[in-house]
Symmetry: C2
Subunit: 451 residues, 2 copies
């Protein structure tokens, strides 16, 4: 290298960081603007539309109301905003170096949720859920987790609102991926390997499947069984449901304002990875509001793993959210609740179904979907790490891959324009996945589970 | 919990995030303002003051000049500032929840360097060093690393400036702590377990100490041997030297401005953890400038581990920076270069010596030192994680412990005032240390090594 090879400085802005006074005051509810109403959730026993009371043993009243609301904007309580300020507004970056590496005329931006205390977008809803539960007198939250992204987010949020947090973690992950378990415990969470001896469901699974390393469906059953009969306990879910998607819309609201700071008024494509759907929804729904109002013509692309292609290969029909069939029936794109995806590294994307509101958006033509192979995702993630300096979570690599492919296409056609990528989390605790990709080894990540 | 127990919202600001236009334009050199001149480094062979040419085989001319400069402010090159913008200015937080938990009238602020791509302050100098090397035509950087904080920072910086980066990592860490090695490799760094067969020094160590798991001193010898005879290679060091401390002063420059945003004009005490000294220096030297100019009366407290108490128990004398005695002689607080600290988790603080400029500051009475036990440090870190939501690196826990003790004292006396804590990194890749603290187990972390 000679001295002339040193990258030329640019005076262009790298990131837009809003002042915390600019933190959104409301969550946005896409249901209010959809051209066709959302198909209702159905009672698993009667097949009739679900009533608020049906969910009362599991969720606090405020969250049930949000699950069913038709209001366009829902105010964010001040104690939730106070916690959000620990890492929000999160930065929106212009990917100058990635653009140069791709030789693309497109302008690429990424919204980075990895600055949260647990390194992903999950706390956006965990904090809200912990707050509403605490405000209604709940003392204990239960949940399930696979790799531990969701469990660590809820443990963090519970610590701040004085709640106990009890997490059933799929045994395969509990044993093989200890870092996120340690993170949950550092925040005071109590973590059980599932199936456990602590619940009737768990004991039943252990008897029926001796030596099982568990599954997310089993862990759901245990967490639900632990919470339902206890008046001081409630259950919490980290994706899929309407109220979870609602809480994530702070991502997109901030991104819209930050793009204005960059002087961008027209976004061509928004790319988000899609597992349960909450990250994609959080980023894209505010962009869809602008599109539905006729102010923009933004396309939204859901990028899912080829190994778990619910949007590109699944059927749009009523299905249960869990393997055991205990949850309400929800109309969604599903591979069937018995579908067991390959053990890819993007554990957060290994879900048989898709958030009903995302599915509805796909059905209405507001969102398109693309499936990418794991190798393509990690190739994009590596390129991103070596140009932008941030190591994307394996889930986020899918969104990056979608944008990289589009940016390359535009390098060929000369088409400029604006691409926005949802970088939902960082990969600091997923480094073995990168190491495996680099060495080309093919050790199945059997412990990976969604959420 | 009843609904009245839910934390009361405050309208007070949580963090100050400067716009990237406010990124410092200059590094600050404390040497220019010290009331007595710095004792010079000495040639290890002749014992005479070191000349610039003596360092030329190891460092580029620009860094040698910075090592010896008396200029008060050194301009930050625009390509370095461009990379800094990926995470800088880093946020300064008001620790509202920690203050409430301690019941202290003191106002506690923390400057958080964990937002960098590798999660610590190390890239502040790695980026500068990579830039100057690339600008002078160097193609390959070599360095040593223990736990991997420094090696991953230099790998990241090298990736962005098109340099090869070759890291000799102490074998004990290489084998037992794979995550930071994977991070180095994700950025394209080449990592060797040290001692290696690749150098004469390494082969000699393997012959003399069969089965050794290495030491930082051995790894230094290998990295230096690899770079010195190669005209296209240079060696890089992550702490101790004057130019490294210089690069870290962006931390304190930003903190001073951010405290103004909070309306604070008088800081009582600045707490930083001290290993090699670069993090402490980076935060505190700009505060010392203000003190030496008579504008403030801030105290600076270096918090070191009781297991490696160079400032509180060492002697202030000339010593080598490495175990083998290959480096120049530097006047510093030292436990003796043969001192082997206990295997504490704060690997970044396990160094026998202390940066000469920090040592000089202690000698002049500008900096005071305190040693804390590992248990006290992790107790403080856990309290911090469960109140502020961020998990501090084990090194940073020492600074937190210093501030917590002072804040508790002020809870007793009723004394208010302002405490500033250097949160030099996050503990995402150090979670096993927290797990061990929580369980009370005492598995020596034999792999930990400074840098």
């Amino acid at each position: 290298m000679t001295s002339t090879d040193v990258p030329t400085p640019t005076s262009a802005m790298t990131k837009a960081v809003l002042d915390e006074a600019d933190l959104p005051t409301h969550w946005y509810n896409l249901a209010a603007d959809l051209p066709a109403p959302m198909p209702p959730h159905l009672h698993p026993g009667t097949g009739e539309p679900l009533a608020a009371g049906d969910m009362a043993p599991l969720f606090p009243a405020a969250l049930i109301e949000q699950e069913m609301t038709g209001e366009r904007f829902v105010p964010i309580p001040e104690p939730v905003r106070e916690v959000y300020r620990l890492w929000r507004p999160s930065p929106l970056y212009r990917a100058h170096r990635l653009e140069r590496a791709l030789g693309t005329p497109a302008r690429i931006y990424y919204k980075y949720e990895g600055v949260s205390p647990v390194g992903s977008h999950k706390p956006n809803t965990a904090v809200a859920q912990a707050y509403y539960n605490a405000a209604e007198g709940v003392r204990r939250l239960t949940t399930e987790t696979g790799a531990g992204q969701w469990g660590s987010a809820l443990s963090f949020a519970s610590a701040l609102f004085g709640l106990e947090c009890e997490v059933w973690q799929v045994r395969a992950s509990y044993d093989s991926k200890p870092y996120r378990r340690m993170l949950m415990e550092t925040f005071g969470g109590v973590v059980h390997a599932s199936p456990s001896e602590l619940t009737a469901a768990g004991r039943g699974f252990l008897e029926r499947f001796p030596g099982t390393t568990g599954s997310l469906g089993m862990a759901v059953s245990e967490a639900v069984e632990s919470a339902a009969p206890d008046p001081e306990a409630r259950y919490a879910l980290g994706s899929v449901l309407n109220h979870v998607l609602l809480h994530q819309t702070v991502i997109g609201e901030e991104a819209l304002r930050q793009l204005e700071v960059f002087g961008e008024t027209a976004v061509d494509v928004v790319f988000g990875c899609a597992g349960g759907g909450s990250n994609l929804a959080g980023l894209s729904f505010p962009f869809l509001r602008e599109k539905l109002a006729g102010r923009t013509d933004t396309r939204v692309v859901a990028v899912e793993p080829a190994a778990c292609p619910s949007l590109t290969q699944g059927r749009y029909e009523y299905d249960h959210g869990d393997v055991a069939g205990l949850t309400p029936l929800m109309k969604m794109h599903t591979l069937g609740r018995d579908f067991v995806p390959e053990a890819i590294h993007a554990g957060g994307l290994r879900y048989h179904g898709m958030a009903p509101m995302v599915s509805h958006g796909v059905d209405l033509g507001l969102i398109t979907a693309r499936a990418v192979e794991q190798r393509e995702a990690f190739d994009a993630g590596l390129l991103f790490a070596r140009t932008e300096g941030l190591v994307p979570a394996p889930e986020s690599c899918h969104a990056v891959a979608g944008a990289v492919a589009e940016a390359r296409r535009r390098a060929d056609t000369g088409e400029a324009g604006v691409l926005v990528v949802g970088l939902s989390g960082n990969g600091q605790l997923d480094l073995p996945a990168y190491a495996e990709h680099l060495t080309g080894a093919r050790t199945p990540a059997t412990g990976d589970q969604p959420f």
